[in-house]
Symmetry: C2
Subunit: 149 residues, 2 copies
Amino acid sequence: MSAHPNAVAVDDQLCFQLYATSRAVSGAYRAGLADLGLTYPQYLTLLAVLEQDGRTVSELCDVLDLDSGTVSPILGRLQGEGLVTKVREGADGRTVRVFRTEAGAELGQQVAPVRASVEDATGLSSAEFAQLRGLLQQVRRNLKDSSPE
Amino acid sequence: MSAHPNAVAVDDQLCFQLYATSRAVSGAYRAGLADLGLTYPQYLTLLAVLEQDGRTVSELCDVLDLDSGTVSPILGRLQGEGLVTKVREGADGRTVRVFRTEAGAELGQQVAPVRASVEDATGLSSAEFAQLRGLLQQVRRNLKDSSPE
DNA sequence: CGCAATTAAGTTGCGTACAATTCATTATAT
DNA sequence: ATATAATGAATTGTACGCAACTTAATTGCG
């Protein structure tokens, strides 16, 4: 079947399926989010702010599992779009808290149908949906536990 | 529980779990691959070449589900490292076929323990492993079918 | 044949990701 | 109190991803 001895089929690898499926899902969001002026990481970051208003930048990094080198510029663009505001803390001048704006909250509502249509397009039953999400959370937790902390 | 009415928990979303877990897995590969001088996308691309020697660039794009804007520079770097060679087709001067080199084939062998250790770190049983891979393939196929072709 | 439409690969521009570094601020340890 | 370490956020540099475009080569149609 394979064209070379010892060949490893790319498509059989879990890591590749994860990589490709993650890009496929973000691609499914792309057009709908672009209509709202958002990229996929910007959308997730906005959700994290709406989920809990006034989070610090490092709290957002924790929630999103991204580092400040990624989150800082995203927040800068969200602020530039008027969707969030960054406020430097008085008590500790190092930390910056991020708050939703009125426009950001409204956009959070407009995103719902986009999310619904993508979830529909995955073609998963709600049981499969929950199962897949659970397996992913488990993998992520296990990887986190087994890596140098 | 949530800090704002109508808030959507980022961590509960399948799309976020996919995104975060995909990055977690590629992060688990990072150190091992870096020792071999590879990034994660370079590793997958090399695998695709080793799986079937002499694939064209567009065949590689198909297999990896990436476009030429991503694959071309990756192939350029792999060629720069002496791991693959690009040969322009005589019959059709537009197409370029990619072949493994001796060094590329050797590197393909050295990657096996890295892959094994990451698979181990996911902590999944082989049944869960196969189940997760199947669910991901299903999502990817469904999304592909429901998008404009 | 001539030439417009296609196709394959590569290039450009922008927005992530992430390591490494920097800057400013706060904690600590004498 | 002061030097030093640690911390939060931002910046820099490299490598993806992807849309849009360019270039070169082939196809198809009159």
